[in-house]
């Protein structure tokens, strides 16, 4: 099903909406500790692929084999949307989904939700184990805030932060769940050139420091070509080509479908 050196293997994934095939028999495979890019023109079905493997949508057919952080191999299609993060796969959203009325620290703590073991009763009575657990994750959240270069902002509300900071908070939140695979939906959207460059460095650093793989959907070609080791190009839900950035850049059909149109 899934070789040991891989983290995720998507097989024959298909989903259609009202007769329209958004993803059509798509297969690709991501290696452990790889940074993998999924590119394609607007409406190619990139985000739909994300939504299928994170179970926001249930695909019509196909499998998504995943090596969980518990050391098992599972088919993500058989799991519920809220169970995905606990298996070791965590995502961001195209339009930044944060909790505006909570502090940055609290937003990061939501990222650790799947890690919490105590229930509502233990929390209500502030049992020792609940307090210890809360403190443990608070410490962790503070260190990640520091790591992301947002030190000192723990208590600030998320609402009203600049867009670049919001993107960082959302990325920071993914790190709270001890992920094996982080999937980023257009992480560079809305960022300027310098910010994008800093982001590229950060993604590479995160892969090393947190020992995980990264899958990203991106429009910004400089980011994709700069950080990804392998790229899969899709158009109308179908795979056009897969390979190294150089291979993709030189691929005839990719240029026609994507680069040609875009420039």
């Amino acid at each position: 099903m899934l070789p040991n050196k891989s983290i995720l293997k998507v097989e024959h994934l298909s989903i259609s909406f009202g007769g329209l095939k958004a993803v059509d028999d798509l297969s690709f495979e991501i290696a452990q500790n790889q940074i993998y890019g999924l590119i394609g023109p607007n409406g190619a079905g990139k985000t739909t692929v994300f939504n299928c493997i994170t179970k926001f949508y249930t695909p019509d057919s196909g499998n998504a084999w995943f090596h969980t952080k518990q050391g098992k191999t599972v088919n993500l299609v058989d799991h519920k949307v809220h169970d995905i993060v606990g298996l070791g796969m965590v995502r961001t959203f195209q339009n930044v989904e944060l909790i505006k009325e909570l502090s940055i620290l609290d937003n990061l703590l939501i990222g650790a939700h799947s890690q919490f073991k105590t229930g509502v009763l233990a929390q209500s009575f502030r049992l020792r184990k609940a307090v210890l657990e809360e403190n443990e994750y608070r410490t962790k959240a503070r260190s990640i805030i520091e790591y992301m270069g947002l030190g000192g902002k723990d208590a600030e509300l998320v609402g009203g932060q600049p867009y670049g900071t919001l993107k960082r908070i959302e990325l920071a939140r993914t790190l709270m769940s001890n992920p094996k695979l982080i999937i980023l939906d257009e992480p560079a959207a809305g960022l300027n050139g310098t910010e994008t460059q800093a982001l590229a460095g950060l993604i590479k650093q995160i892969r090393i420091d947190f020992n995980c793989s990264v899958l990203l959907v991106e429009h910004d070609m400089t980011l994709v070509m700069g950080v990804c080791e392998r790229i899969c190009a899709i158009s109308f839900g179908k795979k056009l080509a897969e390979g190294t950035p150089t291979e993709i850049r030189n691929n005839q059909s990719v240029q026609e479908a994507y680069l040609g149109k875009d420039e």
Binding site: T54, F56, K80, V81, H82, D83, I84, V85, G86, V90, R91, F93, E97, L98, I99, K100, E101, L102, D106, L109, I110, G111, H113, S114, F116, T118, G119, V120, Q123, S124, F125, R126, A130, E134, R173, S177
Partner: protein
């Protein structure tokens, strides 16, 4: 004199520190609330109104978990309060079992009822819970009327003040007991709202997608909030039964369910203090209006007014009454910022 001058400076910082702890604020509030009937000139009927505020606060607090914190709405919560009332009355009066057991059963039974109903109604989006609870309330109202052996129907069910471990409560001590229960529940709610559960609920209200992606099962948390609210409603019912010592089916009408919504919205959505303030508003307003000349003679004027107030609050002051004090503070600091007390505004900024 001498003693107090040395005592005060050490006490004040301690108090200020303690005041930061929610449990200390809630306990202090409880002490004041419990002491209110002792005020000279307080009549017995005023004490009854206070009891009404406290019992309704317990129900409103649970309803706040549902409406304010989980963003769900129920239109039939009166049924769960009624079940709590009858169950606790029946257990003490007819089965002769101890009062604490009756309160426990009054919490657990509506909790289970809420769990079962929620398991069915909460799988769907939209307003299914509101309609399902409305339907349940209508069905349970018929049970209250028809199940004579259990509720005595329209003749009414009479019970007594609680008796715990041989100690017989009277009206005053029952009131204090209710206040203690309210304060305990406020502290419990505060604790889980300011922990992982509260954050999950906040995420669910603000961005369902983010909540799900971070591992929050929307169904589980909606169900939990609903079951907690029905459990609290049951406790409130038990308190009602043993403070007013009477229950009949007309008490558990749909207006009471609406009043819970009014309490949470007018008091302040997603606020523990707001639920209590709102409950006081709902219970006390009819009494206050009675004093107003002209309005006092019109039956139901306060009910109409609460409908107007809920719409006005939602349109113009969605935070609710709980924000009045801090908003006045902000206004004062803004007014005084200009010339007289520049130092005062910095004080607020620092906060």
């Amino acid at each position: 004199m001498n003693k107090s001058t040395t005592f005060l400076p050490t006490l004040m910082p301690m108090l200020r520190l303690a005041w930061k702890k929610a449990w200390f604020r809630y306990v202090s509030f409880g002490v004041v609330l419990a002491a209110l009937p002792l005020i000279p000139g307080m009549t017995s009927s005023n004490a009854t109104i206070l009891g009404s505020v406290v019992y309704f606060s317990i129900a409103a607090l649970g309803f706040q978990v549902l409406l304010g914190y989980s963003g769900q709405i129920s239109l039939g919560h009166t049924a769960f309060i009624g079940v709590g009332a009858y169950v606790s009355g029946y257990i003490v009066k007819e089965l002769g079992l101890p009062f604490p057991l009756a309160v426990l059963a009054a919490a657990v039974l509506p909790f289970i009822l809420g769990l079962v109903l929620g398991l069915i109604a909460l799988r769907l989006e939209g307003y299914y819970l509101a309609i399902a609870t409305l339907g349940l309330a209508e069905s349970i109202r018929i049970v209250f009327i028809e199940a004579h052996g259990f509720t005595r129907g329209f003749s009414g069910f009479f019970s007594n003040y609680p008796r715990v471990l041989g100690y017989q409560f009277n009206k005053g001590s029952t009131y204090v007991f209710m206040v203690a229960i309210l304060v305990a529940l406020m502290i419990l709610v505060y604790n889980f709202i300011n922990a992982a559960t509260g954050r999950a609920l906040a995420a669910m209200r603000s961005s369902q997608s983010a909540a799900q992606a971070m591992g929050v099962s929307l169904f589980k948390y909606k169900l939990m909030a609903f079951a907690i609210s029905t459990g609290f409603a049951g406790i409130a019912g038990a308190m009602y039964m043993h403070f007013f010592r009477y229950s009949d089916p007309t008490i558990w009408n749909s207006g009471l369910s609406l009043n819970l919504v009014v309490a949470c919205i007018v008091g302040g959505i997603a606020s523990i203090e707001g639920a209590v303030i709102g409950a006081a508003f709902v219970v006390a307003m009819p009494e206050l209006l009675r004093i107003v000349p002209g309005l006092g003679s019109i039956n139901g004027a306060s009910f109409v007014l609460s409908g107007v107030v809920i719409i006005l609050v939602l349109l113009f002051y969605p935070g609710g009454l709980v924000n009045v004090a801090s908003d006045i503070g902000k206004l004062r600091s803004r007014l005084s910022k200009g010339s007289k007390h520049p130092e005062r505004s910095t004080e607020y900024v620092a906060e």
